[in-house]
Every structure is written in structure tokens, then in C-alpha cells.
């Protein structure tokens, strides 16, 4: 039986991620307790807001090392995904350092509005159990001003001015830049797939 835990990193989308899981029949408690998080089968790191307060919250609750040492599937959502990287240009913030790249801000201009807000299409770059049933050109809902580059960690990418990582994986750490809890059937499928991941992660 899955035991999904949401890390309380102070993000404001905690409620909606929790409701999205409930629609899938999973009641995930919100926790900042290290033991409860370590004992979970699946861990989700949500978060809307800014990188610096997001990291500060993880430091304050003593969870930085806890998250880094997790071996079960972990899913970062939006800011939660960004925190998996090394560094964010937002507030010049050192992040968890699990994925070797840095977040850069979109540069507005030429009809490119920042934040990148709305439904944009995904390009599947690497097949993954996380993306089972989700095809290239599926639409997901994005709201963000900073983006991760593409690289070996990229499972799916998206174009907005340039190409950036929309879904990532490094070892057992996964992330979605878009909001699965607000991406209709595509988002529900991604969450369902995540809950279905088994250790060891392929």
C-alpha cells in the first residue's frame, strides 16, 4: 500500500496537490517530520513561491539532508522541482544540488511574457514510467518565471522562447515544472504514474 507524504515546504499549492491525490484515492498527510518522511513510500515536494524562502523553510525544518538522502521516489512540483537543482538565479539561491544544473529566468521581450503562464505542449524526450500514457503534444498548465535547462535529466521538454525541462528525473528524484494538480487528465495521469513507481526506480 502506498504511503504518500507531502513535504510541508511552505508552498501555497499544498492544498491543491493534496486534493489532486484525494481524487486518485490517496490521502497524503502534510509533514515536516523527518521520520514520517523517511518512512513514506512516495514523497512529494510541492511549492509555489520563491526559491529562497522555499530553501529557507527546508533549512529551518532540518529537512535539507533528509530530502537529499531519500531513496524512495520523490516528486518535486513546480518550485519543488526547481529546488532539486543546484542553484536558482531567483534570489541567487543554492538549492538541494541533486541535479547538476542551474535555473535561469526567462527574459521578457519579443512577445515573450514573463511569467510563462498557461497551457503549453510537452515534448517527450525519454520514455519513462512517470510519463506512461502521456504523449508528445499533450498540454500541461505552467506558471513560472524561472526554468531549468535540458540535459541528461530531461524526460520531457517544453518551448517558451527557448527549450526548457518540463519533466525531469535523476535517480529516484523526479520533477514536473508544470502543475499536475491543475493540468486536467494529463496531470492526473502523471500523479497516478508517480504513485505507481516502485523501488528500485528504473
Amino acid at each position: 500500500m502506498e504511503n504518500v507524504v507531502l513535504i510541508d515546504a511552505g508552498g501555497t499549492n499544498i492544498g491543491s496537490v493534496r486534493y489532486a491525490l484525494q481524487r486518485l484515492g490517496v490521502d497524503a498527510p502534510l509533514s515536516s517530520d523527518a521520520d514520517e518522511i523517511r518512512a513514506a513510500t512516495h514523497v512529494i515536494l510541492p511549492g509555489v513561491g520563491a526559491a529562497a524562502p522555499g530553501m529557507a523553510r527546508l533549512h529551518d525544518t532540518g529537512l535539507v539532508e533528509v530530502v537529499r538522502s531519500l531513496t524512495q521516489p520523490v516528486l518535486g512540483v513546480c518550485l519543488g522541482m526547481q529546488l532539486l537543482f543546484e542553484h536558482s538565479e531567483e534570489g541567487d539561491t543554492p538549492c538541494l544540488g541533486l541535479i547538476p544544473a542551474s535555473l535561469r529566468r526567462f527574459v521578457p521581450g519579443d512577445g515573450l511574457r514573463v511569467p510563462h503562464m498557461g497551457w503549453n505542449s510537452l515534448r517527450i524526450d525519454r520514455p519513462s514510467p512517470l510519463l506512461a500514457g502521456i504523449d508528445t503534444s499533450a498540454f500541461a498548465y505552467f506558471v513560472h518565471s524561472y526554468a531549468a535547462p535540458t540535459g541528461g535529466w530531461t524526460l520531457a521538454s517544453c518551448d517558451y522562447g527557448s527549450t526548457f525541462s518540463a519533466v525531469v528525473q535523476h535517480r529516484n528524484f523526479f520533477g514536473a515544472q508544470f502543475h499536475p494538480e491543475r493540468s486536467a487528465a494529463v496531470g492526473a495521469r502523471l500523479l497516478q504514474n508517480f504513485i505507481g513507481l516502485r523501488v528500485p526506480v528504473q
Binding site: S16, Y19, R23, P115
Partner: protein, 256 residues
């Protein structure tokens, strides 16, 4: 490719969805959650809920329905109405709203926009602007437009206010052109084009949709990121799937 958004707006009064013409004479349209689900099923890209009685009555938005909507809805939604502080916004966002929209309270105290952006990030902060052309030809902002007996004309120029709110941290701007609202004769393209030229964040057009062609022209001519409408959707005059098929045929990218 980033698609253009179709956004039904649900004006909420005393916990029910209502719609008036030119902001007056409100008629009850139905239950909030029922309508929200209907629009989601029809392919709405986002929903906006305006508690139109909250600001004039100096109270914060009633939050019970925010959580009820958040439980069932899997598309983004924004809540507006009487959000006067970081704490008000936090309660609405924690209840499950994706964005908050501020209008009258931001006019009373523009620093509210900075505070919200600092606390939650600009992506959560929408600034609603109600605007009307005055006799001298200048567009100016209106306050408390939810209640005609309290609506106030301000000296503030609409275009200057649009520049200011971006500098303060608005992540999106909804420009409601009151002169065209509810009369279904088309969006105010002239005003929207003038605002678009100054607006570097996503901009949503509001007020005047009456036919599918109006959506086409507001995307093509005013280059807005989203188009908001209420009565044409509530009345069934325009069905969202029909609208999206039409827009796709006109090469406007929309989500299926």
C-alpha cells in the same frame, strides 16, 4: 506551443454565481461548484471567481466555496474579491486557489501588490483593472465596481496604473473595459491594444464578448494571452468547444 486561454468568469454574490449587465441588475446563474465543473468539462482553460460584493462591503471573500471548488476542479482558478492583506490572500491560496486577484484594495493601498508578490511570488498575483473612458477621451480606473451605488471614478489613468502594477509585482493583468462589459458588442480593442503595448506580463481581456469572432479579433489584434467572458458562456450563447474549434480554424492556438 503556448495556447491562448478561454476563461469563464463567475461573479459570486452570497455564495451563488450571478451575472448583471454593465455590472448592474444581477441575476442568479447557479451553484458555484456545478458551474465550475460544467466549464471544466467543456474545456475552459482557467476559471475566475469574483466575489463582487466583498470589496464594497469591506469584508474578505467567504472561503468555504474556495475549498469546495479546489477539491473537484483540476484546472487553475483565480479568486478575486476583498483580498486586502497578505493573510487574506494566504487563506484563499491555502484553500486551493492558484491565484488571487486584487482590484479595489490595490487602489486603496498599492503597496499591497508588492507585499503579495513578496510573500507568494508574482505568479500568484493578478491585478484586476476596471476601466472606463471619460468625456475627455482618457481611460481612467474605477473602484468598487461590484456595487453601482458605490462605484467611484478615480483620477488615476488606466495606462499609468498598468505600468505601476507591473513594477510592483503583478504577474498578470485582467483589463476589464467597463464601457463594453455585458453588451456583447465585442472587446474594446483600442483600449486593449494600448494596454498591451505597455504590458510585459500576461494580459487578459474582459468585457464585451458576444460572438466567437470577438474572441478571434481580441487574440489577433490585441494579442492578449487570454479572453474572459461570463454571460455568453452562462447563457449558452457560446459553447466553449464550438468556440475553440472556430479559433483553431482561424489559426489561434488553443488547448483541445
Amino acid at each position: 506551443m503556448l495556447t491562448r486561454r478561454i476563461i469563464p468568469c463567475l461573479d459570486v454574490k452570497d455564495g451563488k454565481v450571478v451575472k448583471g449587465v454593465r455590472f448592474r441588475d444581477h441575476v442568479e446563474m447557479g451553484d458555484i461548484v456545478d458551474l465550475a465543473q460544467r466549464y471544466r468539462d467543456e474545456g475552459a482553460d482557467e476559471l475566475v471567481f469574483y466575489d463582487i460584493t466583498a470589496s464594497p462591503e469591506q469584508r474578505s471573500v467567504d472561503r468555504d466555496w474556495v475549498a469546495r471548488v479546489a477539491r473537484v476542479i483540476d484546472i487553475p482558478f483565480c479568486v478575486a474579491g476583498g483580498i486586502r492583506s497578505v493573510e487574506d490572500a494566504r487563506a484563499v491560496l491555502h484553500a486551493g486557489a492558484d491565484k488571487v486577484s486584487v482590484n479595489s484594495p490595490a487602489l486603496e493601498r498599492p503597496g499591497l501588490i508588492d507585499e503579495l508578490a513578496g510573500a507568494f511570488g508574482v505568479q500568484c498575483v493578478v491585478v484586476g483593472v476596471d476601466s472606463l473612458r471619460d468625456d475627455d477621451g482618457e481611460w481612467r480606473v474605477r473602484q468598487y465596481s461590484g456595487d453601482p451605488t458605490r462605484t467611484r471614478a478615480l483620477a488615476r489613468r488606466t495606462l499609468a496604473w498598468i505600468e505601476e502594477v507591473q513594477a510592483r509585482g503583478a504577474g498578470e493583468i485582467v483589463l476589464n473595459c467597463m464601457g463594453s462589459d455585458g453588451v456583447r458588442a465585442g472587446y474594446d480593442l483600442e483600449q486593449l491594444c494600448a494596454a498591451r503595448a505597455l504590458c510585459k506580463v500576461p494580459m487578459i481581456a474582459s468585457g464585451g464578448a458576444g460572438a466567437v469572432e470577438h474572441f478571434h479579433e481580441v487574440f489577433r489584434i490585441a494579442d492578449v494571452d487570454g479572453a474572459l467572458a461570463a454571460s455568453v458562456f452562462h447563457s449558452g450563447a457560446i459553447a466553449i468547444p464550438v468556440l475553440k474549434t472556430f479559433l483553431r480554424g482561424e489559426n489561434i492556438p488553443v488547448r483541445p
